[in-house]
């Protein structure tokens, strides 16, 4: 073991990770297309009988990521009820088994092992990418399919054959949002980029944003970082505003992103603001209130999507929560939907009763990778072969602009692209 060798390898590692990012970004531009899915066929009034089929929902119900987990729980609960009302799996009910992962890696592993032992056919979870790197290998080794509802870091589907995700990495949606900003203001020259450096979601997304800025020939004036737990951003804002940006791009989550926007405006910034995928939630409204107005948001989910399944989901959500559904809830719903539709297809093909649990899990995984789905997120499918199997292929991405109402407390996402 030579120290020199270690050092040079360490340097190489840095280079290698950069080049991987480049490769991924390049691949993503050639989006594979999918067969158009058939809409979900709801068979209302079917009497459910038989042993329930269990699906594990292992997300963060406690800890400081609970805000995201809470939205996922709601989305999954809505899905559970909805699909049981629609006849379950050909008359057999589904049962969602919720286990709290909390915010840490050990918690995710514990929750995964508990649901696996409980006999679930598949798992939706965990909330954070960092947790996924800890818990997904366990499910993969146990042969249990995992549908990640919100893990966007690179390398998630590559963990193994059984790991898939419904959450699109942001390579496609981010450039759209910047292009939309350029449409609104063609005179943009200087761009300031902000991102939450302790969040995997944000720090992956910002790479794409920065590449887009460079590719469009804009001047990337400064990159400022913060932490998702921060509440004061004045130092970063002053650093950025000293460089006179016409566009600010933020990758973060609801509370920190909302505060950053609010403080940017209070510091007199009047230019356009693009918010990443993490800001795609009505949870930012109470934070930046009237000052949220005008943020351009890159969306992997738009509640305005007119497909019947989305409008049904949207109605149920609004009924229960009194606001428009956020992306995290829609993704959790879609993750459950994928399992349900694949289970129905598998039941039609061979009959679920004929399969042992281990075989059922494996067959379910193979089936779900080869189907396409009409979800609230739009039509989705998966890469079914190779290293990146389980990577989502999503047809529709959106760019919306936030419009706040007179009261300064409520608002809406207005579709612009």
């Amino acid at each position: 073991m030579q120290i020199k060798r270690l050092l040079s390898l360490a340097a190489l590692l840095g280079l290698a990770s950069l080049s991987i990012v480049a490769v991924v970004a390049q691949e993503a531009t050639e989006t594979p297309t999918i067969e158009p899915p058939t809409p979900f066929d709801c068979k209302e009034g079917v009497e459910l009988k038989g042993e329930p089929i269990k699906i594990g929902i292992a997300v963060a119900q406690t800890s400081n990521v609970a805000l995201l987990g809470q939205e996922q729980v709601i989305g999954a609960q809505i899905a559970g009820e909805f699909f049981n009302n629609c006849g379950g799996i050909n008359g057999r009910p589904i049962q969602l088994v919720f286990q709290d992962t909390a915010g840490d890696e050990a918690g995710a592993i514990n929750a995964f092992q508990t649901v696996i032992a409980d006999g679930v056919v598949g798992i939706v979870g965990p909330t954070l990418s960092q947790q996924a790197f800890a818990s997904d290998p366990i499910a993969n080794d146990a042969g249990v399919p995992v549908m990640a509802p919100s893990n966007t870091a690179r390398g998630i589907p590559q963990i193994g054959r059984y790991i898939s995700r419904i959450s699109a990495p942001v390579a496609i949606v981010a450039p759209n949002a910047v292009a939309a900003a350029l449409d609104l203001n063609p005179d943009i020259k200087n761009v300031a980029v902000f991102y939450a450096q302790n969040d995997a979601f944000a720090s992956s997304e910002t790479v794409t944003f920065q590449e887009t800025v460079n590719k469009l020939g804009l001047n990337l004036a400064t990159v400022q970082t913060f932490q998702t737990t921060d509440t004061d951003f004045s130092a970063q804002i002053s650093n950025a505003l000293a460089l006179d940006p016409q566009l600010v791009i933020i990758s973060g989550l609801a509370a920190d992103g909302g505060n950053l926007v609010k403080q940017l405006r209070e510091f007199g910034y009047e230019g356009l603001i693009v918010g990443g995928n993490g800001l795609n939630t009505a949870n930012i409204f109470p934070v930046c209130q009237a000052l949220c107005d005008g943020i351009i948001i890159a969306q992997a989910y738009s509640y305005a999507n007119e497909s019947p399944i989305n409008q049904t989901f949207r109605e149920i959500y609004k009924e229960a929560q009194g606001k428009e559904p956020p992306q995290f809830s829609a993704q959790a719903f879609a993750a459950v939907q994928v399992f349900v539709e694949a289970l129905i297809a598998l039941d039609n093909e061979v009959g679920l009763d004929t399969l042992e649990l281990a075989e059922l899990r494996t067959r379910l995984n193979d089936t779900l990778l080869n189907m396409t789905y009409d979800t609230p997120l739009g039509p989705v499918g998966f890469v079914s072969e190779g290293e990146a199997d389980g990577e989502i292929i999503q047809g529709q991405f959106y760019v919306a602009q936030i419009q706040m109402n007179e009261d300064g407390q409520t608002g809406s996402f207005v579709f612009i692209r």
């Binding site: 406690t62 400081n64 609970a66 805000l67 987990g69 809470q70 709601i74 450096q197 400064t222 400022q224 970082t225 913060f226 932490q227 737990t229 509440t231 004061d232 004045s234 130092a235 970063q236 002053s238 650093n239 000293a242 609801a254 509370a255 909302g258 505060n259 609010k262 403080q263 405006r265 209070e266 510091f267 007199g268 949870n283 109470p286 934070v287 209130q289 009237a290 229960a320 929560q321 009194g322 606001k323 300064g408 407390q409």
Partner: protein, 329 residues
């Protein structure tokens, strides 16, 4: 860094520093009397913010046991603030009864109280989430105007602007109005507490208890009641702090105050444990240290604050304004 940016960052540093200071004031108060760290202070701070929100008569969100509940009345914001702070003080007294007094009676190690106050903090945070969910809440947008009612004549058309522009440089230095309020309030609390401790009879008794609890109880001071009063005061100040910071950044969820725990601890240790002016000075020094990190190295902001702390401790092991006392371990 240009001169203008430098002055702007100094202003930012003082602003964020005053947030740390206002958090730390109630924190250090308990240390000054009891010589122990109350880890539940962050939770009390959070509760102050939530209580005030409740008293404004706004409904909770759709999650948790209290989903969509609201009070049948609604208080004018300054009254809600006062009520919230009083309730936070009350909770602080209850915390003293539950986590501190029984241990004091049993003569337990002071580290044990630290751990049991931590347990209470964990419980409170999760109770909040259980009751009202993990989402963010915010005060009515009129809140800032309402608490500045006596000063409205200072502003044209009687409306408080969101930010002050100080034309010392060109372009002017910008300070968020709510930060000015926080800064002024922390200075006011500092003066009030200093007067209370040094200029009143209660303060004298508090100092006596801090010096030697046993002797002072022999001298006829009711130690328990005095400690209770200190906890009430700490909770009250913490509650006000929570509301003001909540006005500045929104109540960002049940972990709202806990997030300041680490910085708050750094602040009171830097200032000198138990020193009330030290809490303010420590807050401002850390705030300034963070704001003056060059833009390229902003990612190391938190490390810089702690590196400064580390170095200051090596030079002055008792903190900036702490007393030197020969300690027999």
């Amino acid at each position: 860094m240009t001169t203008n940016l430098f002055f702007q960052q100094v202003a930012n540093g003082l602003a964020i520093g005053s947030v740390y200071a206002i958090f730390a004031l109630g924190y250090t108060l308990i240390f000054s009397i009891l010589g122990i760290i109350n880890f539940a202070h962050g939770a009390v701070f959070t509760l102050g913010a939530y209580f005030t929100f409740t008293l404004t008569g706004t409904a909770f969100g759709f999650n948790g046991l209290l989903a969509q509940q609201k009070l049948p009345f609604s208080l004018w914001f300054p009254l809600a603030l006062l009520g919230g702070a009083l309730l936070a003080g009350l909770i602080s007294v209850i915390i003293e009864r539950l986590a501190f007094r029984p241990l004091r009676r049993r003569g337990a190690d002071s580290l044990l109280t630290l751990v049991s106050s931590l347990g209470l903090a964990v419980a409170i945070v999760n109770i909040i989430q259980f009751l009202v969910g993990a989402e963010a809440y915010s005060y009515p947008s009129s809140a800032l105007n309402d608490i500045l009612t006596p000063f409205l004549f200072l502003f044209p058309d009687g409306k408080v602007p969101l930010a002050l522009r100080v034309p010392l440089t060109e372009p002017p230095i910008i300070v968020r109005m709510v930060q000015v309020v926080i800064f002024a309030t922390s200075i006011f609390i500092l003066i009030a507490l200093t007067y209370l401790i040094n200029g009143t009879k209660v303060g004298k008794a508090m100092r006596a208890v801090a010096e030697d609890a046993t002797t002072s109880s022999l001298l006829g001071i009711s130690t328990d009641r005095l400690i209770q009063f200190t906890f009430f005061l700490s909770g009250f100040v913490g509650g006000i702090a929570g509301v003001l910071v909540g006005m500045s950044v929104g109540i960002t969820g049940p972990y709202f105050g806990i997030a300041f725990g680490l910085k708050g601890l750094a602040v009171i240790v830097l200032g000198g444990l138990g020193s009330i002016p030290g809490a303010v000075l420590g807050g401002l020094v850390i705030g300034l240290g963070e704001a003056l990190v060059p833009a390229e190295y902003i990612g190391y902001k938190d490390a810089v604050a702690f590196a400064v702390l580390f170095i200051v401790l090596l030079i002055r092991p008792q903190g900036l304004l702490g007393r030197v006392f020969i300690q027999k371990v």
